[in-house]
């Protein structure tokens, strides 16, 4: 490994092809256009033996040219010693591109801004379109069950939609949460780590199934399957308005609710599972040390700790159920116009989401579209509130535990 004398000047190709300065003395510091100034080595007080400075003709940002130490007196001594490395001479490092830094930062910030603007715009836009229809509405928006939006007389209200949406979602929640909590407990308290992985995977896979397939399956497979049970309920407790006969049970809120329950199961399970898994070991061990059975440990340590998490999970599941469109649209029988209100879970109906989807082909006039947008906005606001409450509960739970 000879000294670098022979290698000086051999590398002219690297970096940005900046020219070398001609004299021994490096040029004085040149202020750069963007204010970042010269590289620090571009200073006349530097020892000329150690550094050579290349000044670019294009920008004012000179570059430290790291060179072989040919004329340097110490170079020979270092070469004599053992593998202290002879410098690879003439490696020119590229000029520092401040513009690239700025552009990239601008892009990143720009996309943040774009997204904020987008969301704000969506809100304002939808509101602006819904307003004229709301103002022209001759019925009370919140209490009317009519929906006449063709022609000049607008009479529409969301009372029917609200009822069906709430009924189906709450029913789904009631069916889903106990099962989800059970599964979460099983995964965290009863199963070995090795077994809980695959089972978790299977439950999560449920979340991947598209809703249209749930709709199709619900209508053609689950509906007929549940019909006998539904018929039995109607026959035996049909005198309770909630269970009274209405439409063919295949297309009822009941079936839709069961399908919704299946669809929100993965979310509630996953979050509950995470919460239960985080129960502090001290609590569990304290209960065990008192001679508790497994159920008693769960009852005294795991469930109280996880309560706010489970509530939060349920609310997120509720939010999901409220917004579910396609499965509900396919399953639920649309009610005939002007049919009387029935509180039965075996009735048909439309939710906010499914009503919009059912009329998707008919948004021809702005006033009509506005009415649907108004109902969509209600859905959006309700979903947002539910999700926000869920998040607040989760955070408050975290803070106290």
């Amino acid at each position: 490994m000879s000294d670098t004398e022979a290698k000086v000047g051999s590398s002219g190709e690297v970096g940005d092809g900046l020219a070398r300065s001609t004299g021994d003395q490096p040029a004085g510091p040149a202020p750069s256009a963007d204010g970042h100034g010269p590289s620090l080595v571009d200073d006349p007080t530097l020892s000329p033996v150690t550094d050579d400075v290349a000044v670019s003709h294009h920008t004012h940002t000179p570059v430290p040219v790291v060179k072989g130490h040919t004329a340097h007196p110490d170079a020979t001594t270092t070469a004599e010693r053992s593998p202290a490395r002879p410098a690879v001479s003439g490696i020119k490092l590229a000029k520092i591109r401040h513009t690239q830094d700025r552009i990239f930062r601008g892009l990143a910030g720009g996309s943040g801004l774009a997204i904020v603007l987008l969301v704000v715009f969506v809100g304002i836009f939808l509101l602006a379109l819904a307003l004229p229809s709301l103002l022209a509405n001759q019925d009370n928006f919140l209490t009317s069950r009519n929906w006449t939006v063709a022609g000049n007389e607008l009479r529409f209200g969301i009372a029917g939609l609200l009822w069906t949406t709430v009924l189906s979602s709450v029913l789904a929640l009631v069916m889903s949460v106990p099962v989800a909590v059970g599964v979460a407990l099983c995964l965290t308290q009863y199963l070995h780590r090795r077994a809980s992985g695959p089972v978790s995977f299977v439950v999560d896979l449920l979340a991947a199934v598209p809703s249209i397939i749930f709709g199709l399956w619900g209508l053609t497979v689950l509906g007929p399957f549940l019909s006998p049970a539904a018929e039995w309920l109607i026959d035996n407790v049909g005198w309770i308005p909630l269970f009274s006969r209405s439409v063919d049970p295949k297309g009822s809120v009941f079936v839709a609710a069961v399908v919704l329950a299946i669809m929100i199961l993965p979310i509630v399970t996953a979050i509950s599972r995470d919460v239960f898994a985080q129960t502090p070991r001290d609590h569990i061990e304290a209960a065990l040390a008192l001679g508790a059975t497994r159920w008693e440990v769960i009852r005294t340590a795991v469930l109280p700790y996880g309560r706010s998490g489970v509530i939060s999970a349920s609310m997120l599941g509720l939010g999901r159920a409220l917004g579910e469109t396609i499965a509900v649209m396919i399953i639920l029988t649309q009610p005939a116009p002007n049919s009387p209100f029935t509180p039965s879970i075996f009735a048909g109906g439309e939710t906010f989401a499914s009503k919009i989807a059912n009329n998707a082909a008919e948004f021809d006039s702005p006033s009509k579209t506005g009415a649907f947008i108004a109902s969509g906005l209600v859905l959006f606001v309700v979903t947002f509130v539910v999700n926000a409450v869920a998040r607040i509960i989760a955070e408050r739970g975290h803070a106290t535990s």
Partner: protein, 258 residues
């Protein structure tokens, strides 16, 4: 090649918090200087002002000057990124880039700075690994992942990476504290070789290491809780460890506190 560092009346702030107060000292080229002192006294902070790395924390700023062969690193218009090309750094925990092989790790400084010539890069990698005493151990597996090495080897890899861009000064922030004793000794030997080419500044909480490795030692201390760290005494390692001027220094050396 190696540069002389002159620190004059340096105060370091993180926002409003005054971290280090009024440091003045000189570091000669091609020597090893050790910063020692109890935890929290500001030695790492001081080290990081030498390559302006403390500025990645928003609100960090300094008063005073740090001059490299007469050029103030904090002068108007000086770009911190350019400073860091000339003043390299090795960290406490080895941090090779996980997405890169051994070769790519050492070459990363050059490549990221725009060097494209493959032959040059290959030469630089080999010589850096030689200088870091790692070449023989990895020359047959340069394509393997950098994080597959042992702790001591990873740290030497990081040293190779740092010197591949041919800095003038090498800063080392407790480079051995995460390593076993044998690797530590290997790195200390390496420092002895590195000082032939670079000015080395090393922060260490291990006094024996400072005594073994450095030519000059600076002792920093906190005067009181909540107060900034100060440079209590600086001088040749021999003097500091046998006959210090300040009582606080002597107390620290003999283990009465810290």
């Amino acid at each position: 090649m190696a540069k002389r560092i002159d620190i004059s009346n340096l105060d370091v702030f993180y926002g409003d918090f005054h971290a280090v107060e009024d440091v003045s000292m000189t570091i000669e080229p091609r020597t090893v200087t050790a910063f020692i002192g109890p935890s929290g006294c500001g030695k790492s902070t001081l080290l990081r002002t030498l390559n302006r790395l403390h500025e990645v924390i928003p609100g960090a700023h300094v008063k005073g000057s740090v001059k490299l062969d007469g050029t103030n690193l904090y002068g108007p218009g000086v770009d911190p990124v350019a400073v860091r090309r000339v003043v390299g750094m090795v960290f406490q925990r080895p941090n090779p880039f996980p997405s890169m092989s051994i070769f790519d790790n050492v070459a990363s400084g050059l490549r990221l700075n725009g060097v494209k010539n493959k032959k040059l890069i290959a030469e630089a990698v080999e010589q850096s690994l030689l200088a870091a005493n790692l070449w023989n151990e990895v020359k047959d597996r340069l394509g393997k992942a950098g994080i597959g090495l042992s702790g001591g080897q990873q740290q030497r890899l990081c040293i190779a990476r740092a010197i591949a861009v041919e800095p003038q000064v090498l800063l080392m922030d407790e480079p051995c504290s995460a390593l076993d004793p044998i690797s530590t000794l290997a790195i200390e030997d390496l420092i002895g070789q590195l000082k032939e080419r670079y000015t080395v500044v090393i922060v260490t909480h291990n006094m024996q290491q400072a005594a073994r490795v450095s030519d000059q030692t600076a002792f920093l201390n906190l005067t009181a809780q909540g107060k900034p760290g100060r440079l209590i005494e600086v001088g040749s390692t021999e003097k500091i460890f046998s006959n210090p001027d300040q009582k606080a220094t002597e107390d620290y050396i003999t283990g009465r506190f810290g």
